[in-house]
């Protein structure tokens, strides 16, 4: 059985990789198996984790769960075209609840905290240390402050990008692009890691050529 599992895994791995050569029957087979398997997995996982795990098991403990169950049922009314509009009610609830929760989280984490972190004395390593920063720290501070500021200018939609404002926006997009470049490098690393993972499986677990 173990031999079969190893060969099957290797067969499927090579099948997906074969797409790099061209679209072919092997890839199509692997793709279909993957899609079917994952759709089935998600359905089962959602059923057992949400419906069974969250609702069915705990329904006697918390009557509030019935509210969620009813909203869930309303969602299924979409299957009946005539009263399908009712399904918008639970949808409104999801959109409303999520945005309410995220409003505060985003506000505090991504706005308030980030503004606080951008308030820096330009020529000091930290508050109260006077004029002590080295060149690297000064450049670091300058990049953070000008980067944040000019980035905000770029994403300001109420004013045409002209004159000094336009030049600041241009600086902003340059800094954004440089950030993207660094980010791209990271992703190359990430993709290579995933590929190494598969090669390791093929050469080590399957063929035993390396440890």
């Amino acid at each position: 059985m173990e031999h079969f599992a190893l060969w099957l895994a290797a067969f499927l791995t090579l099948g997906i990789i074969s797409f790099l050569y061209k679209d072919n029957a092997w890839y199509k087979l692997t793709e279909s198996i993957f899609i079917g398997l994952s759709a089935g997995y998600w359905m089962v996982s959602l059923f057992w984790d949400n419906f069974y795990g969250k609702f069915w098991v705990n329904k006697s403990e918390s009557p509030y769960l019935y509210v969620g169950a009813v909203l869930g049922l309303l969602m299924l009314l979409r299957l009946v075209p005539r009263i399908g509009w009712i399904s918008r009610w639970p949808l409104s609830f999801i959109v409303g609840a999520t945005s309410g929760l995220w409003l505060i989280n985003y506000f505090s984490s991504n706005i308030m905290k980030q503004i606080e972190a951008t308030i820096l004395p330009l020529f000091s390593a930290q508050f109260g240390s006077g004029f002590d920063a080295g060149a690297a720290a000064i450049i670091g501070n300058l990049v953070i402050v000008t980067g944040t500021f000019s980035g905000l200018v770029y994403f300001f939609f109420s004013k045409e990008h002209k004159g000094a404002f336009g030049r600041t926006a241009k600086l902003g997009i340059w800094i954004i692009m440089i950030t993207f470049g660094a980010s791209f490098g990271y992703t190359v690393m990430s993709r290579m890691s995933l590929f190494i993972g598969r090669i390791d499986f093929l050469l080590s677990d399957w063929l035993g050529m390396i440890l």
């Binding site: 290797a10 090579l14 790099l20 050569y21 996982s45 959602l46 984790d49 949400n50 795990g53 969250k54 098991v57 705990n58 929760l101 989280n105 985003y106 505090s108 984490s109 991504n110 905290k113 980030q114 606080e116 972190a117 953070i144 950030t179 660094a182 980010s183 990271y186 992703t187 190359v188 690393m189 990430s190 290579m192 890691s193 995933l194 590929f195 190494i196 993972g197 598969r198 090669i199 390791d200 050469l203 399957w206 063929l207 035993g208 050529m209 390396i210 440890l211």
Partner: protein, 336 residues
């Protein structure tokens, strides 16, 4: 020979090759390591061929994308057979994570959230292994959970691997007392939110169905205020962003991150503002952490492949740009 015949030939070669090596493995064949000379010859051949491609490109004959794929495949695989090891320098964000963990006294309760699935395992699994290993070495209590359905399974794989080590076996680690795996809970960021008031409400039992209250390690853990340190291994949503925004910003948890390299750059914002104490970004981060922990895991093993592939990609970026500018800024590939 027709294309179809060539394709069939290649498939036959792959099948023969794999059968030979598979039976060699079953017969107890050992790993293959190149000698220094072979390794250097191969490296020289690679460099020369890349130089040749550059010359051909300057002369105006472009390569196809498959050539790039083949090169990347070769440079990822070859280093695994080479006798060299990669020199690793430790970056500040990895060191700060290690130091934050080192500062914790024995007995500290550490929450590790495995928020990824098998596709991201090559990057994150080594981090999970070395982090939990370090926790066990320092006598911390480890509480595992997952916001992704397959996360806790990845955690179990990591724990099994760690416990294979005789040094770890000697520690006599007991499930329920030294570590627990609370399993997966659906609900994404809302799970973290609820954990802020009660862990038990989100994890009434562990992944095997053992009730929360019957496990000595977690019995007295009510919420985040009873946790000394948190570590999140994340490959996307829900993951690090949610942990920072809810666990750190709302409940004051001390958090370290292990991220896929894809999303690591986004986390520097939180690192810079002090919202997270440290960050392991991609395989590189994993290898650096392994070095600090004095443990040679998969991340360290793969670093040479990683560096080789980066070199080749840099070479192709140069070749591509040469073709792009010489060719009047048109595509740098033949088969576009």
């Amino acid at each position: 020979m027709s294309t179809r015949a060539k394709e069939i030939l290649v498939i036959i070669m792959i099948v023969v090759f794999s059968l030979v090596f598979y039976f060699r493995k079953i017969a107890g064949g050992k790993e293959i390591i190149f000698s220094n000379l072979v390794a250097w010859v191969l490296i020289a051949l690679l460099v020369l061929s890349l130089g040749l491609i550059l010359i051909l490109t300057i002369k105006g004959s472009l390569i196809g994308r498959r050539v790039v794929f083949i090169y990347v495949g070769i440079v990822l695989a070859l280093p695994l057979f080479m006798p060299f090891t990669q020199k690793i320098t430790i970056s500040p964000e990895v060191r700060s994570l290690y130091e934050a963990v080192e500062k914790l006294p024995p007995g500290s309760k550490v929450l590790v959230s495995f928020d990824y699935d098998p596709p991201s395992a090559p990057e994150l699994q080594p981090m999970g292994e070395s982090f939990i290993r370090l926790c066990f070495q320092r006598d911390f209590k480890v509480i595992i959970m997952g916001l992704w359905p397959q996360g806790p399974q990845q955690a179990n794989i990591a724990i099994d691997k760690i416990l294979e080590d005789p040094e770890m076996q000697a520690r006599n680690l007991r499930y329920g007392e030294d570590y627990v795996n609370l399993g997966y809970q659906a609900g994404n960021e809302f799970v973290i939110q609820r954990m802020g008031s009660s862990f038990k409400s989100m994890f009434p039992s562990d992944y095997r169905g053992i009730p929360y209250d019957s496990m000595p390690l977690v019995r007295n853990i009510r919420n985040f205020s009873n946790i000394d340190f948190s570590f999140n291994l994340s490959a996307g949503f829900p993951g690090s962003v949610e942990w920072v925004q809810i666990a750190v910003d709302r409940y004051g948890v001390e958090l370290g991150l292990g991220n896929t390299a894809v999303q690591a750059p986004q986390m520097y914002t939180y690192l810079n503002s002090g919202q997270v104490v440290g960050l392991l970004g991609g395989m590189n981060g994993g290898a650096e952490f392994e070095l600090l922990c004095d443990y040679k895991g998969k991340a360290t093993k793969f670093m040479l492949s990683q560096s080789f592939s980066h070199m080749v990609i840099i070479a192709f970026i140069i070749i591509g740009n040469v073709a792009y500018f010489l060719g009047g800024r048109k595509s740098a590939l033949k088969d576009k």
